[in-house]
Symmetry: C2
Subunit: 219 residues, 2 copies
DNA sequence: GCGAAATTGGAAAGTCAATTCCAATCCTTG
DNA sequence: CAAGGATTGGAATTGACTTTCCAATTTCGC
């Protein structure tokens, strides 16, 4: 991963004020890139939003690519941490529904603007920025791992049959979330997201019911 | 930012050569915008690719927004027509699998670059170009309608129970396709797409099996 | 074949973004 | 408090892109 370019002339903030500035820039850039896309966000845009001068941005991030990379990492980790309490307990149908519905409420709140923070970046950057693609792949992997680990626990516990393809179920839920958010973004209505996600969870619930049935048959 | 602009100074090609030029531009723009995004595609890019001068592009499309709108319509109708034979017969589990696998093969062929022609445009433009969003919503609606009509036929036929929520199943499959393609694009591996789509089709197949079971119970 | 309309080439204007640079100013540390 | 690095402001450079414009040139209807 020769993350290139970023290695150039990037100073880590070593003073308190510096750290706050860097943070302000990062937040502003993340918000703007989420709302308008990376290409639609100019450095002057970020300057205005963060109330900083150009040199501060270049001082801390090197160039726009470096800033973008930082935003990707920021979104990946921040969104993950925000949901940590929920993510760590995705080991029941109810927990899955609750987690997905949480996102639906957020969609409602913003009238479905922007879609998924990571998904939007992924769609825009995957094909044109290899190092960004890597970062985004890592972000998605973390998400998928969280879902998988919940499902795996359900399987160990016997809620799911030993033969269930947990990775496939996990990736399907993630895909439904991403695709559902995209459809909701385009239609400006969270219904597609809710439907897609709930159908997939219904399917998982069916598998749970099947496991239960076969268990009671066994004895 | 109303739909305007497109109404401005756009000449329809009235001569044969003109039509071919317009077409060449449209194809070039569609391809480039697919591969590099709309923002990443400049007019000079399109000029080079289509071997035309700037004035020809502005002559036929008015401005970049008009060109983008034309590309959206082009992708919507062309992709739909390409798949027409399959789309009109999505009324069996096998047909659904065949249709989705067809797309998977295409993903393999391009190493998952670009994702979905409509989905990529949707993600990039939905939030920043209202008229583009409308066009994309129409495009997605056509897709969804095709899936729904196949499922509806299965329901009429009794393959699916009368109580099945066909629109929800259809939107879920569409979401899995879109989300799966996104995940595949990011990971450069068609596996996520294949898994997501097949799990959703498995679910539909389960519903078909359930309908069959309840039918044989009835008699 | 002739005139009008369609089509085309290519230069040029105007804008704006990315990035660099240098001179201030601030902070920390000894 | 003085040196030196960290941080900041803002102008200047460079380059690309969108769009306009006008002068050819071709094509079509008659």
């Amino acid at each position: 991963m020769q993350t290139r370019s970023v290695g150039t002339r990037v100073k880590a903030a070593s003073t308190e004020g510096g750290r706050r500035t860097r943070d302000r820039i990062l937040r502003a850039a993340a918000e703007l890139m989420f709302k308008q896309g990376v290409a639609g966000t100019s450095i002057p845009d970020v300057q205005r939003r963060a109330q900083v001068s150009a040199s501060q941005i270049y001082h801390y991030f090197g160039d726009k690519k470096g800033l973008t990379a930082a935003v990707i990492e920021y979104q990946s980790t921040v969104k993950l941490e925000q949901q940590r309490p929920l993510l760590d307990h995705l080991d029941s149908i109810d927990a899955l529904r609750e987690w997905c519905e949480r996102a639906a409420v957020r969609l409602d709140a913003v009238h479905c603007a922007g879609g998924c923070e990571i998904g939007s970046l992924a769609s825009e950057l995957s094909d044109i920025d290899p190092s960004a693609r890597l970062g985004l792949a890592t972000g998605f992997a973390a998400w998928q791992a969280a879902i998988e680990s919940g499902l795996a626990r359900m399987r160990e516990r016997g809620d799911l049959g030993a033969d269930e393809d947990v990775p496939a179920l996990a990736v399907t839920l993630l895909a439904a979330i991403q695709g559902g958010m995209l459809l909701s973004q385009v239609s400006q209505d969270a219904t597609p997201y809710r439907r897609a996600v709930n159908v997939v969870i219904d399917h998982i619930a069916d598998r749970v019911a099947a496991a239960q049935a076969s268990r009671s048959t066994d004895r």
